[in-house]
Amino acid sequence: MIALTSPYLWYTTRATGIVTLILFTIVVALGTFVANRIGGTYVGRFELNELHRSVSMVAIVFLAFHVVTTIVDSYVPTGVLSIFVPMTSSYKRLAITFGAVALDLILAVWISSLLKVRIANRSWRFIHWFSWLAFVAAVVHALLAGTDSRSGLGLAAVIACSAVVAAAAFWRYLGRPTRAAGRTALSPLVAAPEPEVRPGVRPTPSTTGAAAKRRTRR
């Protein structure tokens, strides 16, 4: 590995880091718009969805720059392994760990979205929930590793992004569409307990419990 270092690599790492955080903040906000069914009159819902997808692609490109400049820059000894595997960096172990966690989760979300047509929708949604966790990990990484996030504009940016995402999370929780997404959870048919019918044992009304009361007729 050639010993390549330059202040400009270091500046690029820091700059792309901040920009990536801001872009992912926008992605999360857009995702919340989509989930809460915003739009339909002045802006199309599908447009917000497409924006969400496009901005996430841009954010991933900037993330790639951030990661690559970190690896290539030999001023700080971070190797390829420590970028993906947590707790393997010799430099600022905890900070890089959080970065690695965020990167892994973002990769999982990205790849599952590329394969969205091929995998079950339930699996895709399960992985997609982890994007919130990825953001939290990214913020912790920014605060621990970031030279700029200690003070001034950098810190202001991190705080502002965190506030926006926290608000989005709260709004997502409030506006969670019980009309639709929680539908099946409200169904009386889901997750019935295991049957209590055992061979040789005569079932009594107590073993069938509350279910037996359901059949009262007027």
Binding site: P188, R202, R215
Partner: protein, 425 residues
């Protein structure tokens, strides 16, 4: 032994207690075994007794054409319709007839596992089936293996795909089937699902042959069927009648009101039939011009003192609550229909607008669910709008029809567990 052209067939030899295996074999002894079971089934013209009208032999043929070592036969005795009692009665009088039929079906398709599904809310019936299975397994370890399953009772739990989903995943949720020609699967293996009464008829055909079977019934609707009669009757009862009998005869046999206002045919997801059409034969072909079907063999008699609109409103409200709430048009559409019907009974808005909205909503909801639950409710509502036209006009005009003053109801609808479960945001 079994006479061909007399009843009872399914309920032959019934005592107060379920027949033991020995008693069953004596009562249903056949002189000579039937040669080619599948051919006999084909020529018998047997159709499903669980509400569908498919020829049983077609379903069996589909399963026969599947190549798998893990086929299943499922006996559906869930009886989701609250007004139906025939499967319970059959299993309480002679469970071995049903199990016989299941074994015949298993041998026709090459299945080694038979899943008998009874609702756990009826512990007596569960016990009877358990005993029967126990007797069979004690007698011979060979042959197909019986397993008893007892899902909780709900209206849609008896739907084919919901039952299969229960067997797979412990949830009675109907499934979307993109291609109805593909059989349902339990794990890897294709499954043949039949109503318990259908299985019992298969047992009769297997013992006595198709020409014996065809001695009752009409040319298209062959054999006999069990009818659950309730409403304006002395006592709710289960009768075995040949298909093609007139409704009047059936009502007489069940000691029902001979001059009813209307009949609810097929079940809660069926259709109303005006009381003036009692001479119609009890077959799908004869009932079709009136928009009605034999369905799950249910007849509910509503007397002259009843209010058809009230009965319909109570049924629709309950059916809306029984939705699995997986599909939007059903989860939201059915409570909306219930609301509209309540509006027609006690109008607070313009009744003409409500009536139009009701018709419009019926058109919008139909056919857009994964299962036929919303379609059944739509059929019921449309038939009510037709049959009870004059009563509805009276309600809409602000006065009441003759029946709405009476306290009792002819259709016994189970109570809603919680009122707030129905309309939710």
């Amino acid at each position: 032994m079994m006479e061909s052209s007399t009843l009872p067939r399914l309920l032959h030899g019934a005592t107060g207690r379920p027949l033991t295996l020995q008693q069953h074999e004596v009562a249903f002894a056949a002189n000579s075994p039937v040669a080619n079971l599948f051919e006999e089934l084909q020529s018998s013209g047997l159709t499903g007794r669980g509400g569908g009208t498919f020829a049983t032999s077609k379903k069996v043929a589909l399963l026969r054409s599947q190549r798998s070592h893990h086929k299943y036969v499922v006996v559906n005795a869930m009886e989701g319709e609250p007004a139906a009692h025939k499967d319970q009665t059959l299993l309480s009088s002679n469970p071995h007839l049903v199990l016989d039929g299941a074994e015949f079906l298993a041998s026709m398709i090459g299945a080694k596992e038979i899943a008998v599904c009874v609702s756990r809310d009826n512990p007596t019936v569960v016990h009877h089936v358990q005993q029967a299975i126990h007797e069979r397994t004690r007698r011979s370890e060979r042959g197909a293996r019986f397993q008893l399953h007892a899902p909780p009772w709900r209206y849609v739990a008896g739907e084919e795909s919901a039952l299969i989903h229960w067997l797979n995943d412990n949830e009675s949720l109907p499934q979307y089937r993109a291609n109805k020609a593909e059989p349902l699967r339990i794990g890897r293996g294709p499954a043949l699902v039949n109503n318990a009464e259908t299985c019992a008829h298969v047992a009769l055909i297997g013992r006595f042959g198709s020409s014996w079977f065809r001695q009752l019934g009409t040319d298209e609707s062959t054999g006999s069927t069990l009818v659950s009669l309730s409403g304006a009757v002395q006592r709710p009862s289960v009768l075995e009648v040949p298909l093609g009998t007139s409704l009047r005869t059936i009502l007489e046999a069940g000691h029902a009101d001979p001059n009813p206002q209307a009949l609810l045919t097929g079940g809660y997801g069926g259709a109303w039939l005006a009381g003036t059409h009692l001479d119609v034969a009890y077959t799908n072909a004869a009932l079709a011009p009136y928009g009605a079907t034999v369905g799950a063999g249910i007849l509910i008699v509503v007397g002259q003192s009843g209010c058809g609109l009230t009965e319909t409103q109570r049924i629709v409200k309950w059916m809306a609550n029984e939705s699995a709430r997986q599909c939007g048009p059903c989860a939201f559409g059915l409570p909306a229909l219930a609301e509209d019907l309540t509006q027609l009974l006690r109008p607070t808005r313009d009744p003409q607008a409500v009536h139009r909205e009701l018709v419009e909503r019926c058109n919008v909801i139909e056919g857009r669910g994964a299962c036929r639950h919303p379609d059944g409710v739509v059929r019921l509502v449309r038939s009510a709008l037709d049959v009870f036209r004059e009563d509805i006009a009276l309600h809409v005009a602000g006065s009441h029809c003759a029946g709405s003053r009476s306290q009792g109801h002819f259709v016994k609808v189970p109570t809603l567990e919680r009122e707030d479960e129905l309309i939710w945001q």
